[in-house]
Symmetry: C2
């Protein structure tokens, strides 16, 4: 078990009408706010008006950046940083899902430097400072509301890169489950797959870590598996939306990680898929994860699969270990493809073999993925083949 | 499900030699530090020297308050506050168990006011400010290292009162499981009982709350039930000490509470016991809790007991509900009194019926305890009677 630092000071307002507390937080951070959002959905649902009212109440001058896209692009970061610099913005307010939040967080960093925003990803330029960021969440998936990471795409280079940087951690986030009532069945399903992948990336580790954290992760997995189908069936089920929302934050706010240091596997592989094909992140993860788990299974690591099967899916613990492992993977596939109704193969979503080699090489960054099981580009290609 | 604010910015350094990071944090908070501790145990274990070295490294001037007692008294708070005022102390460093931490936190508040420290408890005087507090933990039990509460005793009035106040939250806490290797079997057992009680006070609630949080609480309970006996048998088992330590923080740092608002039951009742008899808090809780659960059980609330029995103790879920409930309480008693070897009755620890009426009245503060089940002084007396 390794040592670790736990440091997650983000303040969370959770519950219906959480946004009513926005002005109290906003006024702590200055006089000029840049409101960042995506398409028109926050206007349609009335959230835009609520937020603008809170900004007025707090007495801040409002600037806007709209049109932040899913798989947000570095051009949006550049545009946001330009607005910040030209208008001496004091604080950023992201309203939307993970893409909007991620983009806003990198705007906060880019606003503080002279170099191009892509340097944060191409040359790993230092992130020593950032404008303060507040977030209002409308989609339970990425956990961006309570962590310091963000993923940005560059269509020119066909790169999609995630990076953590402490100054990007939101100061406060507003989590109102009713704001996710209008999330479609498909996006709810993709969000659930993303949350599950965040947990499994940590849960399946070559390093042994804390019993307590494993039990927590199993609890989070059971939560998502129980409530995602309920939310899809009844989009306004408060309990389902609330559990998914809070689970999404805790799946990836570093608490579950403890002292583990292994590299994630499915996320870097999926980033190559969505960088080229612009598919929804959670869909890519759902297709990849059961194949990844099947590919990695061995006598040596089967105990972790047994925990997963017995504690999450209630599989009979007296069965042979390898059988429990395979049943657990089957249950996970069943959840993704039958319960959540996500497409189960690359073929179904129009991805062929044409970029397998390129994507496998990029996922391994010319080396290996040093995760649960060491993966070479050739291993990744075999996992891709299983997804066809 | 109620709304809530989650706001726990305490930074945690977790792992062996975590204290090596103390100077980095100390130097953020000023030039003069008051080191607060209890008896001589931190000197015996070499921790005092390590801490003083870190204080020197950070360049702070050192002041000391030693002799903070278990069930810390308001006189120690007064003494600490006097030292702070006379010497313009900038930051407090608590090194020890929950008693030392609680006392130090209230010194931090008392240093900022002119009135007597007991006013915080007798007249609920406002706590708007406090000196910054850092903590080095040597006992896994109270969770004081990551929350804003503290319990203080007043032997003159025979009161023992706990209170939460946001400014008391430690800025950083240093959790090194090896610092608990020297904790005796008895204190380890009492600590485990305290942690379990913190969880059950929240878990058994009349309000329904988040499925996700219930699963987390069950995971914490399983963690303590698994590792406390291991730590007692092998005091230097790192994994056991680490799991107990991190579980103690999360049992009572507000995360598990979600939006629940009900009053705790066993804690206020136990405070009356230890205010008069000065018994170890965890021991009192272990004796009270199974009786409390037995007294409160009804057809109306049996489902919660079923969750507890099935998910924590792996009791056969096909049994009748009331049978599962009773088996679960038996398992808990077995854990406290056979596995942890704690005394199981008042009689065994020299407590008779002489103060039952007085203690029951004070526990209810002249009214009722509005917790899992509403308890009148007469109910509390009946629970006391079950403990004889």
């Amino acid at each position: 078990m390794n040592s670790f630092i736990y440091d997650v000071p983000t303040k969370i307002y959770f519950g219906e009408n959480a946004v009513d507390n926005l002005s109290t937080e906003l006024e702590k951070y200055g006089k000029r706010v840049l409101l960042c959002y995506g398409g028109g959905s926050i206007k349609k649902m009335g959230l835009y008006d609520t937020v603008v009212e809170q900004i007025k109440k707090a007495g801040l001058e409002l600037f806007e950046l709209s049109g932040i896209e899913p798989n947000p692009r570095v051009d949006s970061v550049r545009e946001g940083a330009k607005i910040c610099k030209e208008n001496n913005i004091d604080v950023l307010l992201a309203v939307g899902g993970g893409s909007t939040l991620d983009c806003t967080k990198w705007i906060a960093a880019a606003a503080k430097v002279e170099h191009d925003a892509w340097d944060f990803f191409s040359t790993w330029a230092d992130v020593s400072d950032a404008l303060p960021v507040l977030t209002v969440l409308t989609l339970s998936a990425t956990g961006s509301e309570m962590n310091c990471g963000g993923v940005i795409s560059n269509p020119e280079t066909k790169d999609k890169i995630g990076r953590l940087a402490k100054p990007l951690l939101p100061k406060a986030s507003f989590l109102d489950p009713t704001l996710t009532y209008s999330v479609s069945a498909y996006q709810t399903a993709c969000g659930a797959a993303d949350i599950i992948s965040h947990i499994l990336e940590v849960y399946f580790a070559k390093e042994r870590d804390m019993y307590m954290l494993d039990r927590f992760m199993e609890g989070l997995l059971k939560t998502v598996i129980k409530f995602a189908p309920i939310a899809i069936k009844n989009p306004t089920d408060y309990e389902a939306r609330a559990n998914l929302m809070w689970a999404s934050s805790w799946a990836i706010n570093t608490f579950v990680t403890g002292g583990k240091t292994h590299q994630w596997s499915c996320h870097p592989i999926e980033h190559e898929l969505s960088a080229i094909y612009d598919i929804t992140h959670g869909l890519g993860l759902a297709i990849l994860t059961p194949r990844f788990l099947t590919y990695c299974l061995s006598e040596e690591n089967v105990d972790k699969y047994v925990d997963f099967g017995v504690n999450v899916f209630d599989i009979d613990k007296t069965l042979p270990k390898m059988e429990i492992a395979r049943l657990a993977i089957d249950k996970l596939s069943d959840f993704f493809f039958n319960e959540l109704k996500l497409d189960s193969t690359f073929t179904k979503i129009g991805i062929g073999r044409e970029n397998f080699t390129l994507m496998a090489d990029k996922a391994c960054e010319g080396d290996i993925i040093d995760g649960f099981v060491k993966l070479t580009p050739s291993d990744v290609e075999k996992i891709f083949e299983m997804c066809i």
